[in-house]
Amino acid sequence: MRAKTKQHMFWLAIVVGAASSFTASLVWAQSATSSDPVSQYRAMFGDDNPADLWVMRGKDLWQKPRGPKNVALAKTCDLGMGTGVIKGAYAHMPRYFADTNKVQDLETRLLTCMVRDQGLDKAAILKNRFGDGDRKSDLEALSAYVVGASKGVPISLPMSHPQEKRAYAMGKALFYYRAGTHDFSCASCHGQSGKRIRLQQLPDLATANPEAQKTYTTWPAYRVSQGEVRTMEWRLGSCFRQMRFPKLKYGSEVAIDLTMFLAKNAEGGKMAAPGLKR
């Protein structure tokens, strides 16, 4: 059966050649056909990103009074730019918050506001931290909305508090930490430029560079393969799963420290999230 599949693939490969010469004769209004088929695939999505549906829902969640305390996050939540301010907030995170005495990323900060200000149940929120179809994640929707308000804002981290500096240094060490059955660290795939895994280009996230900017500024993103908006917490957890590590806890030290390291390497890049990814 394997061999048959192969033969089939081969036969199809021949057809591709014929088919492409056929389509080449057609004239298209927006024939932004790149020679690279993967970018061609991505270009076909245009600016019609289903993440907009999450942004719409997130806006409601941010603006409407909710929870036992019946207050709106827009009236109470400080994401580092002042109460209720979302413009640019994500571009300056993770950062130290005096009220919690912690370095927080957007998601843990939202969680703080939802639990402390609105009186919502932390366990219930976390149960749906990653949505799936009808089971929707408020954290993902809120993240999409807040992040969208930073579009065009360059990443710039305060990096003044000792805890912020420590988070960055730890993030760097964690980035190179090899373990598990496959000896992987983040650097195994993201330590250099110009490589790909299967057909996916692997960005160099180890140093401050344009690839690191482009990657970080397009998360959170609508993941085509999932049909969901995914956040940085999800992205890191999923990477560690594929690295054969145990399960990354949401809002954990490792998640925040690594996010700090990645954000710092993306400094200067203009936010363009929510993005659209494979």
Partner: protein
């Protein structure tokens, strides 16, 4: 692992259905195998067929003729079979319907769009494709049924397969 085309058709025809596009966590899995009595089938007659021809017949036609007046734009490589962008435009006069057909899917017919007077014979949407296959654009005009096709390769993801 992939089922052979014949096994796939047998499974479908016997009323059971093939596991379609299953996404497990991050990585797309273009799965096959696994039959379940719980798995539904669409009971509308146009959705019953497994081939272009049977879809045409269910729509009251006889056969579809290949036409170069139908433009079908789809990626030659889809990074994910769960979302394949498709643009179809018909230059055939009197076009009243455009359909998307994937013979390797559990239902060959993915979607049919009906165009009243005043609406262009144009549609853009995104569909699921079970595996590497020819995507077909089927057009109905006053004169009958016409089609064109394009091969779309579905590729695999990286680290976890």
């Amino acid at each position: 692992m992939k089922m052979s085309r014949r096994a796939f058709l047998q499974a479908s025809a016997s009323g059971t259905t093939v596991l379609f596009v299953a996404t497990t966590g991050l990585l797309p899995r273009i799965a096959a195998a696994a039959t379940s009595p719980l798995a539904p089938t669409d009971h509308r007659k146009e959705f019953q067929g497994h081939t272009l021809e049977s879809v045409v017949k269910a729509m009251g036609g006889d056969k579809a003729v290949k036409s170069s007046d139908i433009m079908l734009q789809a990626p030659s490589i889809a990074e994910n079979g769960a979302v394949v962008p498709v643009v179809i435009q018909s230059k055939l006069p009197g076009t009243r319907m455009i359909a998307i057909v994937s013979e390797k899917n559990p239902h060959a017919l993915s979607a049919a769009f009906h165009f009243p007077e005043g609406t262009e014979a144009y549609v853009m949407t995104r569909v699921k494709i079970a595996e590497t296959s020819n995507l077909r654009a089927l057009v109905q005009t006053d004169k009958g049924f016409f089609y064109t096709d394009k091969l779309v390769k579905v590729t695999l993801g990286g680290c976890g397969g």
